[in-house]
């Protein structure tokens, strides 16, 4: 994952200094003035912080039966307790942490597969492109979630990494398509031709010439994959295919429904986890629009 994502930045430093400096400062100038980017990224960072340090302030086991049963939010239990006396705030902070993990891992796997296939298809063209395109289209038409349900159902041991792996394996196609079309337009430019003439290996041309020129695009692709991995994982968790022992926001929703929090009007049990997912993914999307406006001068006026 770091191989591809790290490449653009590392190479950008080799560009002529003054031009690069001006570009960076200009980007920063517009980044600071973009409310969508600022609001989106501060919410995402805030949630990340809660997920990172929150678990240190609550007990070791978020599923422990610690308090009174079915208590609404109070000073002692910030988000109330479940029917079994579990602290919902503790579950929430641990769940947030695993949500970030599944997003990074699932989104990362999808990003690596999608960009690799997109780059090769767009750069090589011809028969390679045809074959990769066919594969992409096939996976694109298959309903990812339903494939996942069947595949994950047979697994006995389930964890965040296996889940992320499977999510990554099924959700890369649109990224591959998008990267491919971008690569196609770059592959015929002069500087790429020059690199090709100089006899460099395909993979080096892709990582040093093509990828840096679409680095902003790649960042945005990763953010979208990150968000969709979180949503898919929440869906899987909700139908009981989540990590076998652990806590996640989707699992919280599952147990809330399983123990009829709805009929008991225990709103504090099912609102926080869903709100957490919606806020996180929603701010990721809005952050992405902000990034788009920063990188794409055409969009700035509106």
């Amino acid at each position: 994952m770091t191989d591809v994502a790290g490449a653009p930045g590392a190479d950008g430093a080799k560009a002529p200094e003054p031009a690069a400096e001006r570009k960076v400062s200009e980007t920063l100038h517009f980044a600071r003035r973009n409310p969508k980017l600022l609001i989106g990224s501060s919410i995402v960072l805030g949630l990340l912080l809660i997920g990172l340090i929150g678990p240190f302030f609550v007990g070791d086991d978020p599923n422990a039966y610690v308090g009174p049963q079915s208590e609404p939010p109070s000073g002692e239990y910030w988000l109330g307790t479940t029917s079994f006396g579990q602290d919902i705030w503790a579950q929430f902070v641990y769940g947030l942490r695993s949500t970030f993990l599944i997003g990074v891992f699932g989104g990362g796997v999808a990003f690596v597969i999608g960009t690799a296939i997109g780059f090769v298809a767009g750069y090589k063209g011809g028969i390679v492109d045809e074959i990769l395109n066919m594969i992409t289209n096939v996976v694109l038409v298959l309903p990812a979630m339903v494939v996942l349900i069947v595949a994950v159902a047979y697994l006995d041991a389930r964890g965040v990494f296996i889940q992320g792996m499977f999510i990554g394996l099924t959700s890369w196609p649109w990224a591959a398509r998008a990267v491919r079309s971008q690569t196609l337009s770059l592959a015929t430019r002069d500087f790429v031709d020059l690199a090709r003439l100089s006899g460099r290996r395909t993979w080096r041309i892709i990582t040093t010439e093509v990828a840096p020129n679409m680095s902003s695009y790649l960042v945005m692709t990763f953010i979208l994959l990150f968000g969709s991995a979180i949503l898919i994982a929440a869906g899987l968790d909700f139908i009981g295919l989540g990590p076998t022992n652990g806590v996640s926001l989707g699992l919280m929703l599952e147990s809330a429904v399983a123990w009829s929090a709805l009929q008991l009007e225990m709103w504090w049990w099912f609102i926080p986890p869903g709100l957490g997912i919606t806020t996180l993914v929603g701010s990721l999307y809005i952050l992405n629009v902000g990034l788009d406006e920063v990188f794409n001068p055409k969009l700035r006026e509106l």
Binding site: V138, V141, L253, V289
Partner: protein, 331 residues
């Protein structure tokens, strides 16, 4: 045009083969013995039924024959409409159980997809009109697309069914009623249908609005729009052209989003315990009824493929370029 349809057909055919192969491979190559674990967890007390099921499945799997033969007989069974026999509702064929659930899923899915697509495109087109509208519709749209289907379903169920009591919380119809073609029963069906439909509709709405808004802005910046503007064409006319051109990618978007929407419908059904395919998936998972699960999988895949093909045909009908290709090829 025929080349286009031919290519699409090839992809769908290949997808179908891949899906069936995945379906065949998973129980065979996953660790453990699915038949045994299925039977042991299905808690069937009658030893005779258990024995019959065991031999039935071993025969169905054909575990003693070579793999390629198992693969071929799997396909043969498929074409006979034989998806095996359910464990949780033994001895009912899987296909019958699925066919009973499909109408409910379609009743929620079809109106939700079509209406959200139409309304979302309208809203998106409005959003591209002014900055104020854009700044309200856009964030709302993004939050809606970021909402997990089942969570919105939970919120609606809580607000409208539990707190306000306007709608029933769960199931497809009241169990006090006997299914019949009477007004009372139909009204009951509609009341149970409304909340699942509404939650699907609302979540899907945001995505279409955003897609349309982005496409319209892109089209309004295109050369032809600038040219029309330079000629002094009224803004309304330019917008109409932009709208028409922006519709085409939205039709493709419909095809791409289909898988997600169907997954959303399955999750929504589980919240409302609506008797469609989603609830069936949950039941088959909790009962470890893998044959039912695999049957549903194939059914959903076939449904997605057919729907995609219909969308492709519609695309050909409305896209002038493919039409031109057709007449051009004939000339």
């Amino acid at each position: 045009m025929w080349r286009y349809i031919g290519r699409k057909l090839a992809v769908y055919l290949l997808t179908f083969v891949v899906a069936v192969t995945i379906n065949w491979m998973i129980p065979r190559f996953m660790p453990g013995d699915p038949v045994r674990s299925m039977l042991s967890r299905a808690s069937i007390s009658d030893p005779e039924a258990l024995e019959r099921m065991n031999s039935y499945y071993n025969e169905l799997f054909g575990l003693d024959t070579p793999l390629w033969q198992q693969y071929l007989s799997f396909w043969a069974g498929l074409f006979r409409g034989d998806l095996g026999i359910s464990i949780m509702l033994y001895p009912e064929p899987v296909i019958d159980i699925i066919l009973r659930a499909v109408p409910y899923t379609l009743a929620v899915l079809l109106p939700a997809i079509l209406l959200s697509w139409i309304v979302g495109n309208r809203f998106g087109a409005y959003a591209a009109r002014s900055k104020i509208l854009d700044n309200t519709i856009l964030p709302v749209g993004y939050v809606l697309t970021a909402t997990p289907y089942m969570w919105l379903a939970l919120l609606l169920a809580w607000a409208f069914a539990v707190v306000l009591g306007w709608f029933p919380v769960a199931n497809g119809y009241s169990f006090s009623l006997i299914p019949a073609f009477t007004w009372e029963f139909i009204w009951d069906l509609v009341m149970h249908w409304f909340l699942p439909f509404l939650s699907m509709f609302v979540v899907a709405l945001g995505g279409w609005a955003i897609g349309m808004r982005n496409m319209i802005i892109y089209e309004l910046e295109a050369d032809y729009s600038n040219y029309l503007q330079a000629l002094g064409a009224p803004r309304k006319l330019i917008r109409r052209y932009a709208f028409r051109n922006a519709m085409l990618p939205q039709i493709t978007g419909l095809a791409v989003q289909l898988g997600t929407i169907i997954a959303g419908a399955l999750l929504t059904e589980i919240v409302f315990n609506y008797p469609g395919l989603g609830s069936l998936i949950l039941d088959s998972l909790t009962n470890r009824d893998f044959f039912l699960l695999q049957g549903i999988f194939l059914f959903v895949v076939v449904g997605v493929l057919i729907a995609n093909f219909i969308i492709d045909i519609v695309y050909v009908l409305v896209d002038p370029r493919t039409r031109v290709q057709m007449t051009g090829g004939a000339a």
